[in-house]
Every structure is written in structure tokens, then in C-alpha cells.
Symmetry: C2
Subunit: 217 residues, 2 copies
């Protein structure tokens, strides 16, 4: 890392191979391998068999965001968490939602709309679709004592997922719920999780005005 930062090894340079580095540092190749492997994972090195290890020319910044359970996030700030289910229905989902979830048109999903509150102030508004084939127990869960967010984390594992961030203008409904002016700029997270080939849930969370998400590089 020092040699990369001080430009002793410049962007694009090939660095010595593992055997040579092990000799230079007087350690086992395994140790060099682990160090280089971990640096490569941060995106600063590019490793290829036979071609060797090179310092990446234009490292792509990678930021790891932790997306905690909303209750925990609020409680971690010393505030009281509460949530209100605003709608709970089993109905045919719009084709856009079904398409993204890889489900046939006409499939019925559980739809939940809920508001998360911190010290009784609106914190985030959640609009969720749940695949009842993957999570059948959700059919009988009222989600009044436990949020859908948390219930799903506890009850239905997922193997992979996608997240996207965007900015959204507050609609009338959301402005009402989040107690802001219609048209306010709000941060939104869309999240789709999968259990193997099956979509588990699709959720859009819109945060109250001024919300920020932090990460370190």
C-alpha cells in the first residue's frame, strides 16, 4: 500500500511476483498472496495468472453502504422507533413490478405500505410487494408489532439482491405521510431480493427530507 501511495509502484506498473516479494520481505508466499489478494479486492491491484499483478490505472472507487434495519438505525441514534401499517392487501401487482420480479402477469402479491417513525416524527415511507410463494407465512402476519422489513429478515433468507438509489419528488401522498411539501426532493432506495431464482420482495423506501446515506471509501 505504501509503495502504491508513494507512487514507487505507479499506476499501470507490473509489480514483482509473489515469490520475489516473499523473498524480499522474508515471509511465506501464502502471506504475500493474502496481502495482495486483499488489496486487489479494494480495487487498487489487478491480478491475472501468468500476466502478473498490476497497479490499476484508474481505480474505481468502491463504497460499501450498510443498509441496516430501520428500527436499529433509529434506535442507534437514541430515538424511539414506531411504525404504522397504512395499507395491507393481497392483490394483482402492476405489470412493471411483476416484470422486475420475474413473475407472470396476474400474480397476486402481498402489498404493504408502512410509515416508520423516529420519536413520532416521520422517518421513512415504505411501499413493498411480497412474493407469497416464497414467504407463505406472510399471509397471516399482520406486521403491526414487527415491521415487514424486520419480519422478512428474520423469516425469509435471500441469496442475492439489487439496490438502487435515486432522488424522487414527493407526491401528494408521500408528502402527507412524511410531513413535507409536495415536490420536495427525497432520497429513495429500491431494493429487490432473490432466494435463488425466486424474487422474494420488492420495496421502495422513501426517506424524509434531508436524509443522507454515508459510507467510507
Amino acid at each position: 500500500m505504501r509503495r502504491i501511495n508513494t507512487r514507487q509502484w505507479k499506476p499501470g506498473d507490473q509489480i514483482p511476483n509473489e515469490v520475489d516479494l516473499a523473498a524480499e520481505f522474508g515471509c511465506a508466499r501464502t502471506t504475500v498472496n493474502r496481502a495482495l489478494r486483499e488489496i486487489a479486492k479494494t480495487g487498487l491491484l489487478d491480478r491475472k495468472r501468468k500476466a502478473g499483478t498490476r497497479v490499476v490505472e484508474q481505480p474505481i472507487a468502491r463504497a460499501v453502504f450498510e443498509i441496516p434495519i430501520i428500527r436499529k438505525e433509529i434506535e442507534a441514534r437514541g430515538q424511539a422507533y414506531r411504525h404504522q401499517v397504512q395499507q395491507r392487501a393481497i392483490s394483482v401487482a402492476p405489470s412493471g413490478v411483476l416484470a422486475r420480479m420475474g413473475l407472470n402477469t396476474g400474480t397476486k402479491l402481498l402489498r404493504l405500505k408502512a410509515l416508520h417513525l423516529a420519536n413520532s416524527h416521520p422517518y421513512a415511507y415504505e411501499d413493498r410487494w411480497v412474493n407469497l410463494h416464497v414467504a407463505p407465512e406472510a399471509r397471516d402476519e399482520p406486521f403491526d408489532t414487527i415491521s415487514a422489513n424486520e419480519w422478512l429478515v428474520l423469516n425469509t433468507p435471500y441469496t442475492n439482491g439489487e439496490v438502487s438509489f435515486s432522488a424522487a419528488s414527493a407526491s401528494k401522498d408521500i408528502a402527507d405521510a412524511l410531513n413535507c411539501d409536495p415536490g420536495s426532493a427525497l432520497l429513495a432506495i429500491d431494493r429487490l431480493t432473490w432466494y435463488g431464482p425466486d424474487a422474494v420482495t420488492h420495496v421502495r423506501i422513501v426517506f424524509a427530507e434531508g436524509h443522507q446515506l454515508h459510507a467510507s471509501l
Copy 2:
């Protein structure tokens, strides 16, 4: 992973120790260690000396965002990249900016405002402060052929940084630059990078309307 996903090892459970798993799978402990270490890094396991390894109760979702050089991002979509420097000045920065960068009030920084275009359409607006003590060569760089973004990546390494995402309402200036209505909801990234103890640059990038950032879980 299978045992976690199928709930054979449930959230909160302590799993067998490395020696036992090595015996069960007929492999070396080193191999078990690496597997568990890598799973733990994804947040599904919690490992503590003496206390053992446990399945995390409420795994915190971790999303890795790649924040590429804007030019590359645009070119990757097959569009033509161009940028325009709209302002370039060396002046005393506002105290808010200096405070975040850990610099004394009254410090002069290089300020750059630039517009990034994809196929001549506004893509993102950038407002940047550069610490000339860390990157003195920036004083003589016009940033007309290469964006500040890219120049800094090539010329000044950083050791760590912070990023935050938020939604911003388009100001008059930004609405003009990005060709949208004032008050539109826009996604903004604030980024602060450090080289050891010294702040390198602080930048706020506001993307054109509708921009999304994607990541996988």
C-alpha cells in the same frame, strides 16, 4: 452458506468451531478459516475469539457501490463524453467546507465548477474544492482536456475517503446547467478524500434528473 440459507444454522446459533468443521469436511483448518472469514466479511457470520462463530441475527445488508470516473461511465454506455469548466478560481473557501476538510479558516483552495455531458446532454454538475498543499500541480492545470475528477485520480493518490448520498432540490443555477426545472429532485453525491491526515478534495456531484445508482447485495 447452504446451512445458513436453509436455516440448518439459524440466526443466533453458534456454529461448530474451525477444528470440528475441518474434521467434518475433511480439509485443513486453514481452508475452513478462509471460508468463514470470507462469509463473515459479507456480514452473515459474527466471529469472536473464544466466543466462537455465530450466525448473525439480523444481517445488515451491505451494498458495494462502484463509483467510476464519469467519463468511463458515459463511454461504457456508448455515449460521447465531454466536459465544460464553468468556473476556476483560487479563493478562500467558506468555513463550512474548510471545517469538513480540517483546514484553518482563511485557507485558499482551488474551486472548480464543471459540467459533464453525455452526447452533449447534461449528465452531472460538479462543484469541487482542491487542497493545493496536497496537490500543488493542480494550480497550473487548466482542466480543459481532462476533468478534475480524472486528473486527481491520476495525479493524487488518497488513502481514505467518505461518501454520502442525498437528494437535492435543483437550484436556479443547477437547473440551468442540467437543463431541468428549478426544484427538480436530483441525486447528489458528496465526497471527501484524504491522503493520510490531509484533505485532498471535497466534491459535490449533482446528477441530471432521473439518475440512479445501482449496486448488488
